[in-house]
Each structure stands twice: as structure tokens, then as C-alpha cells.
Amino acid sequence: MGSELRYEIGQNAYIKLVLHALKHRTSAVNGVLLGRLSGCGAVVEITESVPLFHSQIGLLPPLEIALLQIEEYYSDEGLSIVGYFHANERFDDFDLGGVAKNIGDHIYRYFPQVALLMLDNKKLEALHKGKDRSPVMQLYTRDSFKNWKQVGSDGSNRLVIKEPSANVLLLDYISSKKWQDMVDFDDHLDDINKDWLNPELFK
């Protein structure tokens, strides 16, 4: 049953996460994924994402506050936290670090089909070269031995973007430096005027 589970990420959620990573390319960043289980339990729909932090990611207090607010806001829309996104500090670092695993473990307690997404820098760099429609991310899920395993590295499309032209739009945003408008939870805590919902981002 677990091996058939597919993950589908919506365009806006996907693009937000990559833009966030590009805005803070000299540090690690993370974000939270929201969505629901659907298709009779066959698909996890990731419909929204919230970029969280770009500094001192291993600290609890800002994370706890963020998760409280995010859970509260999205439960009104019938969405819950279904995953976590992490982009490592270094370009060639493909290790899933302790912090990401801990946060993933925490989400697992409430949503066992949790998706851990890690930015794939090599794929991101190669994006403008080809017509790749697959997301520039690696997917990890928890197996029955409580380990995080990468899923889909054999080419099976376990993680797909809902809209096929998402990467084209992403490339467009990258060239227009759209990431400059991105607000994450760190920015909000530094200046509560800034809205982590980014309501105007895709208008």
C-alpha cells in the first residue's frame, strides 16, 4: 500500500519553495507543506507551502510559533501539514540532515504519509537546458523501520507537479528575480508587517 502512494504538488506551492531557496542562496532554508490525503488514500495533494526560515534552522522557538500559526490558519481551509521542505546550505550537499529528519519525525506523528522534500541543486541548475517537467526536488518518506528513504530515484514518478508547465513558469520567475518579493516566517518575526502568506506574490 505504501509503495503506491503518489505525491502531487501544486505549482504555486512548488514555485514558492524554490524561489525562497534562491532568495537565500548562501544559507539553508526550509518550509512546510500543506495539503490533504485524497483519491481514496492513493495521493497526497500538496496544495500550499509556507517558507519558514533562512537562519539558525535548528532552533525550536521560532519553529513552534510558526507551526502553531500555520496549522491554525490552514485548518480553516481543510488543509493540514503534510510535509516539509529543506534546502541545504551547500550546492553539492545531498545529505538529509538531522534537523530535517527531526522535523519530519514530528510531522509523522500526525500524518504518517509525510513527504520530506529536499532541493536538488543539480537539477535546478540544469533546468534551463532541457524540458524537464519533473520537480527539482528529491522525495523522502519514512519506511517501516522509521528510516527516511529516498523515493523515486529509480525514475518512477512518485512526486509530480500538478501543472505540467510549472518549470517553464519557474524559469520565467527566476529570470525576473521574483524571489525578491518573497516573505518567509523569519522575515515576519523580524517585522510583523511582512506577511508570510505572500498573498500578492502570484498576482
Binding site: Q56, P62, Y73, I192, D195
Partner: protein, 302 residues
């Protein structure tokens, strides 16, 4: 570290220059003074001065400082040819200079030629073992190659000599946090607080680390440090206000079933909650109801 006012001033200048309003040199000086990392802008605006003979001569002898600044920015943006050109100019002007030698070694580092860069830096260090910039490059190289334990070792060695270097303590603390070595991170922040006891950001980071470490004693201490941040910042620091609420809630959980001695501490939490409410009402009214439910869930769990 940069104050809000200083950052606002730099951003204003940046905006001005970006939109063709001039002031590039002033902007570049600010960035250099505050040691900010804005390499793409520095590269763009620095080159606009260097490539224009009239502008170049108007800054006189500072021209060479600008070449150095642009070279480093170019390396950060992986525009290695531009960096090489800047270094060539400096080599011509200052033949045999150690400072230029440093840039040459940095270029090797930027190319990813780690072994050659290390050789170059080591030989420069042989001549001047107290060159702080080069010692930090060794740390940076270790970090860039993913050798975090090596970076930690270098930094600790560096700090034995240069124990007043706050940036180094902060870098070390951040590396420890990324590796979830919170006790060691706490030690770094303790050193920083000892040397700069009125800097609220160190108190804040220390409190965050203590809370993350957990346990009744740590969370109680964290609460005291959040309170001192509130004191030092006139109640304006959102993170510290939230911190107080989190601590009170966590302490309540940890002492459940024990005596009621923690009751008087809930006054601090109410004050913090009120301050947060006032702040959100004024500046983020759309998030006010979210804030209220967050505060409610923190009070309930205690």
C-alpha cells in the same frame, strides 16, 4: 551585525543606485564598512565605476580598494574572469603584495582548487601567522568542502588566539546549531554575552538555544534571557515576546502536578501576550485572530 537603521540606510542607497539615481560609491563604501554580503549588487555597481575612466579617477587612490572589493564580489558570483582581471590590475600596481597574494589564493578557492588554495594560504600564513582573514579562509574552505568538524576545529583554534572576535564566535555557534550541538552553541553565546552584555541579539540567540535544549532549568533560564531582551529592546522584539509565552507554557507542562510556585510567572506571560496583541493590532491586523488563537493554545497547554 547590523542595526535596523544601518540596514535601512544601505537599502535606501541600493534602491537609489538600482534606479539610476547615482550614489554608487557611497553605497559600496557602506557595504564594505558594514561587511554585508551583497555580491551581485557590488559587482554590478562596482564595475560601472571601474569601467568608466572618469568615474574611476574621481575616487582617486580608493580605486585599488574598489578593485579588491569587486574581485571578491565577482568570486562570490562565480564570475571568475572578472575577478582574475581585477587581480591582474592589482598585481601590476602592487607587485609582490601579500594582500594581493591573498586574493590570488582566494581565486584558487573560488575555482574549487582546494589543495592549491590551501598551499597558497599556508605559505602566506608562514610569513604572517596572525593574519585573521586567511585563518578564516581556512575555516571557510573546510565548510565549503562539507568538513564541518574541520571547520569547528579551525575556529576553536582561531578563537584561542582571537577570543574577542565576535563574528567568529557567532559563526561557530551557528555551525553547532546546524549540527544540533546545542550545548556547545550555548557556550559560544555565553562568551558573547560576557563580552557584550547589552547586545540583545546574543541574549535572544542564547534563550533560543536553551529552550531547544529543553529541561526545566534550561527553559527557566531561557525565560530570564527572553525577559532581558524585552528589557533591552523596550518590549519591541517579537521573538522575545513569543519566547516568554513559549517558556511559560513549557514550564507549566514540566511542573504539572508539582507545587503552584510558578503561578506568579504567568504575569510575565500576560504582559508579553498583551504587548504582542497591541503590536499585531497596529501593524498586522489581518493576523490578529491567528495570534490570539496561538496565545490561547499556549496558555491552555500549561
Amino acid at each position: 551585525m547590523v542595526s535596523n537603521r544601518e540596514e535601512a540606510e544601505v537599502n535606501r542607497l541600493e534602491n537609489q543606485v538600482d534606479n539610476g539615481g547615482g550614489g554608487a560609491w557611497e553605497y559600496l563604501c557602506h557595504v564594505r564598512k558594514l561587511k554585508l554580503r551583497r555580491s551581485d549588487k557590488v559587482l554590478k555597481h562596482g564595475l560601472s565605476i571601474l569601467n568608466d575612466p572618469k568615474k574611476r579617477s574621481s575616487i582617486g587612490p580608493e580605486e585599488w580598494t574598489l578593485y579588491e572589493q569587486v574581485a571578491i564580489a565577482a568570486m562570490d558570483c562565480q564570475c571568475l574572469d572578472i575577478a582574475k582581471d581585477c587581480i591582474k590590475v592589482l598585481q601590476k600596481q602592487f607587485p609582490g603584495s601579500k594582500r594581493v597574494g591573498r586574493l590570488e589564493a582566494m581565486l584558487l578557492e573560488a575555482k574549487g582548487s582546494w589543495a592549491e588554495a590551501e598551499k597558497a594560504y599556508s605559505s602566506l600564513l608562514d610569513d604572517n601567522p596572525f593574519d585573521q582573514v586567511i585563518q578564516k579562509r581556512m575555516v571557510a574552505m573546510a565548510k565549503a568542502q562539507g568538513n564541518l568538524s574541520g571547520a569547528i576545529e579551525w575556529l576553536n583554534k582561531y578563537l584561542e588566539t582571537f577570543m574577542a572576535d565576535h563574528d567568529a564566535w557567532r559563526e561557530l555557534a551557528e555551525i553547532y546549531v546546524s549540527l544540533q550541538m546545542y550545548k556547545q552553541a550555548a557556550f559560544c553565546y555565553e562568551e558573547l554575552i560576557l563580552s557584550q552584555s547589552t547586545n540583545p541579539l546574543y541574549h535572544l540567540a542564547y534563550a533560543d538555544v536553551l529552550y531547544t535544549l529543553g529541561g526545566l532549568e534550561n527553559v527557566q533560564t531561557a525565560k530570564k534571557y527572553y525577559a532581558s531582551v524585552i528589557d533591552l529592546t523596550g518590549g519591541k522584539n517579537t521573538r522575545a515576546l513569543f519566547g516568554v509565552c513559549l517558556c511559560t507554557s513549557a514550564i507549566g507542562q514540566l511542573v504539572k502536578g508539582r507545587s503552584k510556585e510558578e503561578n506568579d510567572n504567568s504575569e510575565l506571560q500576560s504582559l508579553a501576550a498583551m504587548a504582542l496583541e497591541k503590536s499585531y493590532k497596529q501593524r498586522a491586523p489581518s493576523k490578529l485572530s491567528l495570534l490570539n488563537s496561538t496565545l490561547r493554545s499556549l496558555k491552555l497547554s500549561s
